[in-house]
């Protein structure tokens, strides 16, 4: 898409989005109960029901990688964009990498340490998904809001865990798959500032990506006892022309005795990753 056409599109969509977010900000229809410390309790099991893990932007239903084997099982659902304005504002030189990521999303080669992370969607290989992708994968996650300035978020996908340190000033000591999360309250909204993300994580199966300069600011706002509005702003000047935003609701899982189960996917990937190094003829 040319710059001019993108501008026109943005000009059309941005005011509508602005009106939408102002409406949310100005009319807090819901006032959540507060804990003794004066903040809402976000604890519980939550899940997104968007299809952004296939593609953050609008997308049609798509066949799987091996339709001859997995038919409709492997196919992906259609979905509307969760990106404000519809499209991710890539720098022109970064778009090529996204396309290449997509083209090689299912190619895996771990035979060389130096190229270990060069190919393939990290989700395919069962790597920790990073932020914000973990939030909109089709798996639940559990927030445990401690009473000691710590909020733990446990994701079912590969049992990834994140610690949100409240009002913490120290910078990330090193990059990590799930990043370095520092939280604060703005009214009833939990705002989490995430830096220190490993550059290898992707944003979706469409190859959308970032660098290790990515800075994510997440906002979790209670909308009802059963919903949080989730919003994340992604800033990475090496990849995008400007900060951009995604938003969607998170739904509380209400089934009786619902609990986080295990999706320990390492064993599901070993044959794909390491099968080729087996002793010839070994059972």
């Amino acid at each position: 898409m040319g710059a001019r056409r993108r501008f026109v599109l943005l000009a059309l969509i941005a005011p509508a989005a602005l009106v939408g977010s102002l409406a949310i900000a100005q009319t807090p229809a819901y006032r959540p109960p507060h804990r003794p410390d004066g903040h809402p309790d976000l604890s519980g099991i939550w899940q997104a029901f968007v299809t952004a893990n296939w593609d953050l932007q609008g997308h049609e239903a798509q066949p799987g990688l091996h339709p001859e084997l997995d038919g409709a099982y492997g196919a992906g659902p259609a979905g509307q964009s969760i990106v404000e304005g519809g499209e991710i504002p890539y720098r022109p030189e970064a778009l090529g990498k996204k396309k290449q990521n997509f083209a090689t999303r299912a190619k895996v080669d771990v035979s060389d340490d130096k190229k270990w992370h060069a190919l393939g969607d990290p989700e395919l290989k069962c790597y920790m998904p990073g932020v914000p992708r973990a939030t909109y994968m089709p798996y639940p996650f559990q927030i445990v809001q401690g009473s000691n300035n710590t909020i733990l978020i446990a994701y079912e996908f590969t049992s990834a865990t994140r610690i949100v340190r409240m009002n913490w000033t120290q910078e990330a000591p090193a990059d990590a798959w799930m990043g370095w999360s520092r939280g604060r309250w703005e009214g009833d909204t939990l705002v989490v500032d995430v830096t220190g993300l490993r550059e290898e994580t992707w944003l979706d199966r469409a190859g959308d990506f970032h660098s290790d300069k990515l800075h994510v600011v997440e906002r979790y706002t209670p909308m009802s006892p059963y919903h949080l509005q989730y919003e994340a702003t992604l800033d990475d000047p090496t990849v995008y022309t400007r900060p951009w935003k995604i938003s969607f609701p998170l739904y509380r899982r209400l089934e009786k005795n619902i609990q986080l189960l295990e999706f320990k996917c390492v064993p599901f990937t070993e044959e794909m990753l390491y099968g080729r190094f087996r002793k010839p003829g070994a059972p």
Binding site: R35, P36, D37, D41, S43, V110, S111, D113, W116, P122, C126, Y127, M128, Q142, V144, Q145, G146, S147, N148, T150, I151, L152, A154, T158, S159, A160, T161, I163, R165, Q170, P173, A174, A176, W177, M178, E200, N257, Q259, L260, L261, E262, K264, V266, P267, E270, Y274, G275, F277, R278, K279, A282
Partner: protein, 339 residues
């Protein structure tokens, strides 16, 4: 390869070394070990005992009591015991010749220095029951379970010889499936941290290695259906005074999931977490498996609070598990050269 084997040994519960020898006659456990002075545990705003924070369970005190030692040492004996254990455990020694030096290249820089200290109560084993401080004898195993053990031993042998046939020859920790995140929590060479976060009805325990969080539900709900088994089992907790009592069931049947090849179908573990001071938790676990051991056994491991500025950091494993490929490529290359 020796380095690899060393790492593998380290991944297996390094300090739970099997020290054989004649056990001393049983005597009552030290009161200081099993009956800590009453301490008024801080409470969460909703009234549960507050176990939150980052805790470290490193110690050099062995799981099983070494040959002939009494259960609790005097100050002087404890100092000798500690320095002798530290000497054996440190990897910065240079008294073993070239081969030993190569092995110790994975040196103390990488290790948790806290693992060189015995427990503050100066016990000689982490096991407090049976009173001899040792894992009870095995019951005779069925031929099927003997076969599983032999098969595992064969895989370990191939791995340690640098000749794994396949990734399945490697242990679950080497494959980054489970590591020290599976109960019982035992001290190891590094990454001995645990972060506990509580909200009403749940105690979340996040072991540093690997990054799994164990959700201990304390709201009285039943265990998962028998049909759902998990690598880390399924934990339920309740408060008994100041103590969090956790029972874990529904373990997967894969070899290596439960402690030392016990039988997952009959294995039962009960853990107790008790805050016994501003900077200490007593972590006690009892294992019963009538299909494996002649009687239940219990160990007590002190957890020490980590300075709040010293944060627990993410332990990635599978994401950069280069070594699993090195092991396999090395084996294929050795086999090719041997032909």
């Amino acid at each position: 390869m020796k380095l690899a084997a060393l790492i593998a040994v380290g991944m297996a519960v390094a300090l739970a070394v099997s020290l054989t020898g004649q056990a001393p006659p049983p005597r009552p456990s030290a009161a200081s070990a099993t009956q800590p002075k009453p301490y008024a545990s801080p409470k969460t705003p909703w009234g549960d005992p507050d176990l939150q924070g980052v805790w470290n369970d490193a110690t050099s005190t062995p799981l099983q009591r070494p040959n002939g030692l009494k259960d609790v040492l005097t100050d002087e004996e404890a100092a000798d015991f500690q320095s002798s254990l530290a000497h054996d455990l440190t990897r910065d020694r240079r008294d073993g010749g070239a081969d030993a030096d190569v092995n110790r290249a994975y040196n103390d820089h990488w290790m948790d220095a806290r693992r060189l200290k015995i427990t503050a109560d100066k016990r000689t084993s982490l096991i407090v029951d049976p009173p001899d401080g040792r894992i009870p004898p095995l019951v005779p195993l069925s031929p099927e379970r003997q076969a599983v053990r032999s098969s595992r031993a064969g895989a370990n042998q191939r791995f340690n010889a640098g000749l794994p046939d396949d990734y399945t020859d490697m242990s679950l920790p080497v494959r980054c499936i489970i590591r020290t995140d599976s109960p019982p929590y035992l001290p190891t060479i590094y990454n001995n941290n645990f972060q506990i976060v509580q909200s009403p009805g749940v105690v979340a325990i996040a072991p540093e290695m690997i990054h799994s969080t164990r959700m201990v539900y304390t709201d009285g709900r039943p265990h998962l259906d028998r049909g759902i088994s998990q690598w880390l089992g399924d934990s339920r907790g309740h408060w008994d005074g100041a103590t969090l009592v956790v029972e874990t069931t529904n373990f997967r049947s894969d070899d290596g999931v439960v402690f030392q090849g016990a039988n997952p179908a009959t294995f039962k573990i009960t853990e107790q977490f008790t805050r016994v001071g501003p900077t200490s938790i007593n972590y006690e676990f009892t294992i019963q498996d009538p299909a494996t051991w002649t009687k239940p056994w219990t160990a007590l491991i002190p957890w020490n609070k980590v300075d709040p500025e010293e944060q627990m950091f993410e332990y990635g494993c599978h994401e950069d598990n280069f070594d699993i490929v090195h092991f396999l490529k090395g084996a294929r290359s050795r086999q090719k050269n041997a032909r």
